[in-house]
Symmetry: C2
């Protein structure tokens, strides 16, 4: 892993298209964004980069490493854009929504998030949540559990987002329309006598907005944390 500085020739000009870990990760990210998780194969990557397998494995440990690194980049980008906010509740909401938007734009990141929730790239996310809960007045003993619940809400929606994207990708493009229609009508056909709630929910599916539902969930969790803090002890 040791790198020698330029030997002999002073400053050997680096070809601007030379292979590098970053270039590989960037290519992988683009493939994931445009074709979903399924589209990223080592074979396709060699074609896209015009190299062989060994070249890639020279810069990257394995496919898991590549996926994790690509997700790290997206997450770091989101978290570095976070602005301080006077109101901790608003800051928490914004933090959660920023992450939601990133996962919505890159569903494969959602899968990676739930696959490896302990990546260093998420450190700042967890730390921010802890501090903001503190600022919100959540007592010390409840703070860890509260943070866990909040994190689970975010990761849960992220995972669901990824799963939905996977299901949609599996339906071949020609089927996609009918696939969505089928799902909607099948749910609307649930027996209203036996399953009144599910039936009613299904008929309202059109008005449903995932982002709003997510934001509502954040509010629910924050309100619940506040309420429990007041009620207990």
């Amino acid at each position: 892993m040791t790198k020698k500085a330029a030997t002999g020739a002073a400053r050997a000009p680096r070809r601007k298209d030379s292979l590098s870990r970053e270039r590989i990760i960037r290519a992988a990210t683009e493939m994931l964004d445009s074709g979903g998780e399924r589209a990223l194969t080592l074979r396709a990557l060699t074609v896209r980069l015009g190299t062989g397998y060994g070249a890639i494995y020279h810069h990257v440990a394995d496919k898991g490493d590549l996926l994790a690194a690509a997700a790290d980049d997206v997450i770091t980008g989101v978290l570095s854009g976070v602005v301080a906010d006077a109101d901790p509740r608003a800051a928490l909401r914004r933090l959660a929504l920023d992450l939601f938007d990133a996962v919505d734009a890159h569903p494969w990141v959602g899968a990676e998030l739930s696959r490896r929730p302990w990546r260093p790239a998420l450190l700042d996310f967890y730390e921010s949540i802890g501090r903001l809960l503190d600022a919100l007045g959540v007592p010390e003993e409840a703070r860890f559990d509260a943070a866990g619940t909040l994190v689970n809400h975010v990761l849960g929606v992220a995972a669901q987002n990824a799963a939905n994207a996977r299901l949609l990708a599996d339906a071949r493009d020609t089927d996609r329309e009918s696939f969505l229609e089928d799902a909607a009508t099948r749910w609307a056909q649930v027996d209203p006598e036996r399953y009144p709630f599910v039936h009613a929910a299904a008929t309202r599916l059109g008005e449903h907005d995932d982002r709003e539902q997510f934001a509502f969930g954040v509010d629910v969790v924050l309100a619940g944390i506040a309420a429990l803090g007041r009620a207990r002890r």
Copy 2:
């Protein structure tokens, strides 16, 4: 390998070990329980059942169908065991915890749950949640969002459970101890100056109980739903 059933004899006695969809699903479930998702391969299944691929594909559409059916069985088992409860809050808590326990015992069900949250096997689960929220006095307009948040909490924890199991399974058995230790110590080494909250959380990881954390989350969500219902509109 070929066994001839008694030919000629009237009422060929069905061999009690004859292949059937149920037998296949049962075998798959056992393999998933003992070896994790990774252990269920078509090859291993043919060996275990003493048949060929075609025999399996004759009773089952594909691997996804098999996985879904196996998960359905577990879920149906849990939901059919649900007892009516006078207090809707207690009933919701119990429903959630029953599902948690099932996923804890069969982590691969957690993965399947987040892969296909719209399986008919979950109908009763969703319907119960809707009715119990009604019984709890959650107003009609908020009920769908509230149910969504609650469901997301359950599915989120389920997915996380499955992801953890996968990570553990990937660490080879000999590594497993050191793998867990490594993870714990690595997190304890997080810079306490820069990440005081995460550092504190890591040092308390030992006292952490996943089931309690989950139950706490359910309480948070329920309290939040109640609080928001009171505050708005």
